[in-house]
């Protein structure tokens, strides 16, 4: 844990996120143009996909890949259930809003994952390349699960239904992540070498600027949040803690090595703020983005980056026992 925590707070990546939070809190007019922020998020997804695909091409497929994919899909589909129960009872949300929020916590945040990978690599525990496929696989089951919770089966016209399904299975993140993953597998290490100055060497720098922007957005959003209660604020801290622990235990249980188990914990702990909000806007327009975006983006995301990645890593290391600690 020490290593990971230290890495967290001297890593430029995390420091830029803190700078963004700070700038927004003091009401500076610093802002990243949205076209650029969008472009950076596409770049990060393409790069992480490629890298994962190349790693799989290089190392071949680990025997655990099947079980971890299955585990990921199950987690994405099931984690919203407990979240939904908590949000309705303790959080006092109506069914629609509880379902919408729950979907966010079942799904994953690409940037949280990427930041965790940076920190794990610095600590000498890189996760396996196929974890990118797990990341992609976990994006969407939670959306279905959240929708079922929010309004049961049935309803909608078939036109809306097909819109929704397209949004769920062919949303930009899923297509780009899996597409780049496939490209990485086909091109392999030699093909990737050509583009690695752009996609590998530039990666952390882009991540810095992107996290600067996320810091700005997260802080501005919470400062103008009107519909967030303290109950929901606490839940937005508790869910990543609990889900992260579930994830890291389950990951260790099925035999993932320490880096991958930590990464899986982070995936469970993370909450989506790109793919799921867009899907919810379409599928549950009555749900309030002021609730689900503020919880996932302004509370859970910073908590994961600044605290929870460190906790999860420490837990994974502890679970792996003394042999698991490698420099």
């Amino acid at each position: 844990m020490d290593t990971a925590t230290l890495q967290t707070f001297t890593s430029p990546v995390v420091l830029f996120f803190i700078l963004g939070l700070f700038a927004a809190f003091v009401r500076s007019d610093l802002a990243i143009p949205e076209a650029l922020a969008k472009g950076m998020s596409l770049y990060l997804m393409a790069a992480i996909g490629l890298k994962g695909g190349v790693a799989v091409a290089e190392s071949g497929v680990d025997s655990t890949i099947g079980s971890v994919l299955l585990l990921g899909v199950a987690a994405s589909f099931l984690l919203p259930l407990t979240a939904f129960a908590i949000l309705k009872t303790l959080g006092r949300l109506d069914r629609t809003n509880a379902g919408a929020v729950a979907a966010h916590y079942g799904s994953v945040s690409v940037v949280t994952y990427v930041t965790a990978v940076e920190i794990l690599e610095l600590s000498g525990m890189p996760p396996a390349g196929y974890m990118v496929a797990v990341l992609a696989a976990m994006e969407t089951p939670a959306i279905l699960s959240g929708l079922l919770l929010a309004r049961g089966i049935g309803g909608r016209t078939s036109n809306e239904q097909s819109d929704m399904m397209r949004e769920v299975f062919l949303n930009a993140s899923v297509v780009l992540l899996l597409g780049s993953f496939a490209i990485g597998m086909v091109a392999g290490p030699s093909g990737f070498a050509e583009v690695s100055p752009f996609f590998a060497a530039g990666f952390k720098g882009v991540l810095c600027l992107f996290l600067l922007d996320m810091g700005l957005i997260a802080a501005r959003r919470i400062m103008s949040a009107r519909t967030l209660t303290w109950r929901l604020g606490l839940i937005a801290l508790a869910l990543p803690l609990v889900n992260g622990m579930i994830g890291v235990f389950a990951g260790s249980a099925i035999g993932l090595e320490v880096g991958s188990a930590a990464a899986f914990g982070v995936l469970c702990a993370s909450a989506s703020y790109i793919a799921v909000p867009a899907a919810m806007r379409l599928a549950l327009p009555e749900a309030d983005p002021g609730i689900y975006l503020t919880m996932s983006l302004s509370i859970t995301f910073p908590f994961n980056i600044l605290v929870n990645i460190g906790l999860i890593t420490a837990t994974a290391v502890a679970l792996a026992g003394p042999i698991g600690i490698s420099p």
């Binding site: 949205e34 819109d163 103008s224 790109i274 806007r281 983005p289 983006l297």
Partner: protein, 102 residues
């Protein structure tokens, strides 16, 4: 003097992810077209927002020119989802050239 005719101009502010739902309705009531403008920020009962393309929390302004009847049909078609989808609709008379298009 070029001749002009009077038509309705309807402008609808909608969250970008919901814009397609609005334009689908415009197509369904038989209006000949629509145009979408970007929007940067705003403020309403739910507080202020700024364009946040990454999270999809940005808005678009959809404008459409139509005859009085088609405009009324559009308003009727949109009325039920106006509140649930958080749409803002304004409408007024404009003069257009080559009015037979609309």
């Amino acid at each position: 003097m070029t001749e002009t005719v009077v038509r309705k101009r309807i402008e609808i502010l909608a969250d970008t992810p919901l814009a397609r739902r609005v334009t689908d309705v415009i197509d369904q009531v038989g209006i000949s077209g629509w145009t979408v403008l970007p929007v940067q920020s705003g403020s309403g009962r739910d507080g202020q927002w700024r364009e946040e393309r990454v999270t999809g929390a940005d808005k678009s302004l959809i404008l459409s020119i139509a005859s009085e009847e088609k405009a009324a049909a559009l308003v009727d078609a949109l009325a039920p989802i106006l509140t649930s989808h958080g749409l803002l609709l304004t409408m007024w008379n404009v003069e257009v050239i080559r009015g037979e298009r609309f």
